[in-house]
Point group: C5
Chain length 355, copies 5
Amino acid sequence: MIKRLIKKRVSSVGLPPGTLIHVGDKKVERVDIHVIDYDENKVDEMHFSDPDDLSDIIRNNHVSWININGLHNMDVIEKIGNKFNIHPLVLEDILNTEHRPKFEDYENYLFIILKMLSYDETNQEVITEQVSIFLTSGSVITFQEREGDVFEGIRARIFQAKGRLRKMGVDFLTYALIDAIIEQFYLILEKVELRLESIEEELIKNPTSETLQEIHRLRRDVLYLRNTAWPLREITNEFIRDDLPFVQESTKMYLRDVYDHTIQILEILDTIRDMISGMLETYLSGVGNRTNEVMKVLTIIATIFIPLTFLAGIYGMNFHYMPELDWKLGYPVVWFIMIVISLVMICFFKRRKWL
Amino acid sequence: MIKRLIKKRVSSVGLPPGTLIHVGDKKVERVDIHVIDYDENKVDEMHFSDPDDLSDIIRNNHVSWININGLHNMDVIEKIGNKFNIHPLVLEDILNTEHRPKFEDYENYLFIILKMLSYDETNQEVITEQVSIFLTSGSVITFQEREGDVFEGIRARIFQAKGRLRKMGVDFLTYALIDAIIEQFYLILEKVELRLESIEEELIKNPTSETLQEIHRLRRDVLYLRNTAWPLREITNEFIRDDLPFVQESTKMYLRDVYDHTIQILEILDTIRDMISGMLETYLSGVGNRTNEVMKVLTIIATIFIPLTFLAGIYGMNFHYMPELDWKLGYPVVWFIMIVISLVMICFFKRRKWL
Amino acid sequence: MIKRLIKKRVSSVGLPPGTLIHVGDKKVERVDIHVIDYDENKVDEMHFSDPDDLSDIIRNNHVSWININGLHNMDVIEKIGNKFNIHPLVLEDILNTEHRPKFEDYENYLFIILKMLSYDETNQEVITEQVSIFLTSGSVITFQEREGDVFEGIRARIFQAKGRLRKMGVDFLTYALIDAIIEQFYLILEKVELRLESIEEELIKNPTSETLQEIHRLRRDVLYLRNTAWPLREITNEFIRDDLPFVQESTKMYLRDVYDHTIQILEILDTIRDMISGMLETYLSGVGNRTNEVMKVLTIIATIFIPLTFLAGIYGMNFHYMPELDWKLGYPVVWFIMIVISLVMICFFKRRKWL
Amino acid sequence: MIKRLIKKRVSSVGLPPGTLIHVGDKKVERVDIHVIDYDENKVDEMHFSDPDDLSDIIRNNHVSWININGLHNMDVIEKIGNKFNIHPLVLEDILNTEHRPKFEDYENYLFIILKMLSYDETNQEVITEQVSIFLTSGSVITFQEREGDVFEGIRARIFQAKGRLRKMGVDFLTYALIDAIIEQFYLILEKVELRLESIEEELIKNPTSETLQEIHRLRRDVLYLRNTAWPLREITNEFIRDDLPFVQESTKMYLRDVYDHTIQILEILDTIRDMISGMLETYLSGVGNRTNEVMKVLTIIATIFIPLTFLAGIYGMNFHYMPELDWKLGYPVVWFIMIVISLVMICFFKRRKWL
Amino acid sequence: MIKRLIKKRVSSVGLPPGTLIHVGDKKVERVDIHVIDYDENKVDEMHFSDPDDLSDIIRNNHVSWININGLHNMDVIEKIGNKFNIHPLVLEDILNTEHRPKFEDYENYLFIILKMLSYDETNQEVITEQVSIFLTSGSVITFQEREGDVFEGIRARIFQAKGRLRKMGVDFLTYALIDAIIEQFYLILEKVELRLESIEEELIKNPTSETLQEIHRLRRDVLYLRNTAWPLREITNEFIRDDLPFVQESTKMYLRDVYDHTIQILEILDTIRDMISGMLETYLSGVGNRTNEVMKVLTIIATIFIPLTFLAGIYGMNFHYMPELDWKLGYPVVWFIMIVISLVMICFFKRRKWL
């Protein structure tokens, strides 16, 4: 994660500010501009590839959601920037797909950067895609790198006129977008929870050094999620602020709901971190205990045999005058003594709870 | 805990906000609406199953406590929502039984979510039930998932006109409800304290790996209690704020008392956490010490016998010219030397405090 | 500590607020009301057992210090409450002797709860007694559970007219009481310091598992002291606030002095905690080191003898054709070789600093 | 680092404040004053060695960037101080090249101290050079110790009139300088990341005590970077403040961008610190595990042979009446028993997962 | 440290506030009152032993620096208190030489307590002496316990009229005194740094348990320095506050410089603490590693010889029918097998990197 982030930053070192370079990889063939234009009574859907064609759709009392897939075509981005009067630095931030999430209020528009998470089942990893939301009077413009997003439910609600989305303005659409992104966290958390459970099971059944690495991997992923979720708190909080343009009082109640979710996500992540720490401790103390257990048993076996071997050694000595050697019962008596010694030692160890 | 929480959240991903879905299990057969309507002179008790029948009970200068058991019937909840003008998001929160505790001031009503704890003696676990309190002019509506609650004492006080409850308004009833919930924490803390004690005893008498797991389990439970208790601080604090509707100055003194209790609960939980950390350390260092002790004793036994065995080995050699072998006293002398060696070694170990 | 605290709380669960129950044990035979009434020129001392007799002593321009020993008689407490217009919740707090220290400003009186510490030499433990101070115009009422307190010095100063106590008002008397309680902390800290020293000595001379328990015990006690001292900071700080009734500017300078003391006490406790952590580390690393040292020496002894025993084993074999056995010098040569081997090994171990 | 810092400080102990002493080493032969004077239409470049010659270049509506390389000549620094009315304490701070980064607003000028980082490939270490920026109406003066800096890109942009630099005032030039310094951090972070990776690889393949030292070294370097980066946050934040002279609204947007970068750098450094902690734990638990593994295997070998050796010892005894010795099959039977015993033990160890 | 502090506090328990007792030891024979009286044109130096003689020196437009060495004579201190109208509590603080550093603004004077550090080369320890500074219109009074201080440089600057000291007022003198005390910290830090280096060297070359104690000692000393330096931050910060009497705007710039120094000292101390933690970890993991290394080698030696000894034991058995014993090559073949076995084992251990 960090590696990619630093690498991309380094690539733009020394360039004048506001220089538009796309620091991500090219992820779609050609830029697609998808417009959904709606009010309470009507919905229009359009696809463009040239921002110049957008001009005629921006009318009064409508909400235009302009979604741009693909950021590699500087030309398209610049034209959009000119059309909507977007500051060059904002455009630079849109193109820098490793930007940290943020919320900025530029008097005549609001600008939000968020991270959209999804889970790649084949590679078992979380995929992060940056979504920039540009909110101005009558229009919401979203910028994405790839095709596919978490907004299908919102599109369906617009077309089917479900819920209050069609009756509300750009602020409510923005809320819906943010809400969709934050809800996605719960799906990721579910995966994390599954990994947590499988590690816990392994810990009880058969902890190996593989388990340790798995714990460390999970800890790092949770840390990453936390770093991604943390700015959301601040962003939603700033969104509820009193003096923002475009944001109506009725929408703020919904934003407060989103804020509650981000708090809950952070609390869950903190609890998970705590559980991971506990698992690390359990692993380490478990490994230590098991080795100690093995060593103890082995050492006890050795300890029982050492005096016996000594005794055998005694009667293996070649002294000419060793009266025991001539006794008829010498041999069985030695066996008897040896058995007695070993029994006494075993009892002693048992009583001391060493066995 | 977390697992259930995430699962429920995931089930509502993609739905428009304000959609009423009950994310808990169905815990009672049919919704029961229990109304206690009182003023200083009179108390009425009624049971309903249809919210439409409620209309005639809301009169002036009375306090109506409407308690709803069971949240699975969307219809009932929606009717109540309409009757009392409750915002759809608030209704959604009421139905989401994994919501975190919160306090919200909606100008013409206050809305509080709390967690009611109880201890299930058979399964030895803490049961959490969400209680939503909706406080508006003349009415307090409480929403619960299950039958049975911690409010029986309050009902008794209303019917028997004990204390000042009958003489005060909705704010005092709300205070009484919160107080009852927070008092319950002390009962749970008592159970925690008992477990703490039993672990401590085990730690001294016979610590096993079972003890370690018990400590971890207790730590997790205490963490859960802390997460549940933490928002209470904020909630009671906001309740004391100056500019709330319905809340009279005289009630604030009682709320401050509740605030003191939450602070104390949090302090107790912190102290318990500290004690658990100490117990973990004691366990780990104890286990290590014990193994070390065993190993030391065993190694000492081996160390005493090894030179003796060597000596026996010497006189087991078959050299033709070994003068000692022919001596008459060879054998007893060797025994004597061996005894001296082992005594010297034991003394040496004793003096060094190794034994 | 916690156990008692929780138990007492649990006993009052379900009772209406303001119900007067004494949650402590009965510690004196009968309630004693001790009044010292003074101004710059005159001092009167009286003992009562019935609060009704108090009525005539409350005059103008006098300071009345009413000290009540014993809280088990509800009747007496209630009468006092009525006489001085004390809110039922305040009375409840006075009787709940496990309340956390607090400061509350009720417009026409101030109410302070503090913990008075003393050291029981016979049982070697800190005894905590709750002192509630009720400060109203012309009167200071102190409530204690037991006979005996740390205020004898103040009484002496009043009777002997030493210092400025006699010339000042109720605020200065309250300051003097708080100061006396906080000064007591230093005496307790001295005991803690002695225990710290004796543990340190043990750690160097002869650390046993007893020492570890002693460290844990000390840590717990210091934590308890810290929890007791922490609210004092807030209390004294609130006392200095600008807008309090009864508190004159000249007294505030003295209160600031008390505030400095509480800060110092907290700093000392933090330093002690830090030292205890260091001692724990020293103990653990010390125990580990010692065992390692023992094991190393023993293993070295074994390692030296094992090759020698092997050599003896070689010449104990019964092969018919072993030329060395027939050599005249075979036996002494083997001895010589054995001595050489062991010397070489010892040198090797010495050079590697293993011995 | 700290050593040098303390040493330099100590050298100025006891001198009156404002005494100009250069606490760094002399790093260039002679002081070079390099002036770039530009407005939207024209650029002039000049080199001076005597500040007196500067007088005629300070005109209206121009931006003069005066860069001074070399701080060892007190005379030059003092002349500049007089010409621009710089407070003696500011001059002292400029000369004290171990000053911590800071931002100060002196009504008619702003003064900023920053650390410029670069990476010395030959010695594999980060080189820090202090840059002081003095911003007054129409002029930006930068003070450096050595030749060579990270501002070449800015100079190129001025001469080639690229970007908006030529069109803006002194505040934008200052922003550009700060931005160049902060961008340099990403290059350093890239090196850190490479070291992190190589250590991680070592940890998996062949962790030695050298690896441990490498981890500690990296941790110390990251700590140093963090200490250097931390004040940048505060500095850029203060720069965005509303009421600064010379700083225009349009530049503040760019400064906010810089602020975002510093936050990101700090976040990256925190993540790296966390990863280093994880690596330390992995190393320690890995070393412990490996040793335990070795010891276990060796102990198992010993444990298998000890009973066998005992058995051999038995039949090495010299008793006259040992019937087994006379049996024809005695010898092979003993071998058979020994093989059975060892197989049973190996199976037992395998089943217990000890092997 | 703490011990002395607590002891002194305990000695004043129970006394009325404002009682003048000197809680330090008597460190000089007789109290010396040293006055330097200066303005821009003239300097006078005087020595007194009776404060009554001071009266005539306090004139207008002069700065009088009155330095008092020795605090054991209550009489002298009280007279000074009366002459300058010092509040009894301030006098008490001056005499309590274990007071924590503080800054207090009493409308018509400022009162500062600081700790002056010096390093005793013979005992290798830091010596702390309390300096109380009393700043009123036209006079600065400093109270010290012992002869000798860190102010000689300031005296020299006054007499030689170096720097701006002679031209400025009492505030600048106070600044100079504080600056001199804070500069002293750097000298102490240099000593700490030397100890740090010597420990680091020991850690690499030959870490003993002595090294561990040295680390703990250093940690405690650094903690003490930090506790002493920490309040300085607050004190200098309060000194820069806007509304203080006597403090001119021009002096505040110098105070800000002092503030920078205290921040730097605290940062250095934090870095040193971090380094000490790293050293502790290095020591502990180093000790563990070394013991493990020793044990591993020894166990390997034992493991190689155990099978060989077993083989020797086999052919030491006395069975009558052991064909190998009669073979001519039996003995050399056994030797050959033994050598092969040991070589195979050594190879195996080498390949597994156990040797």
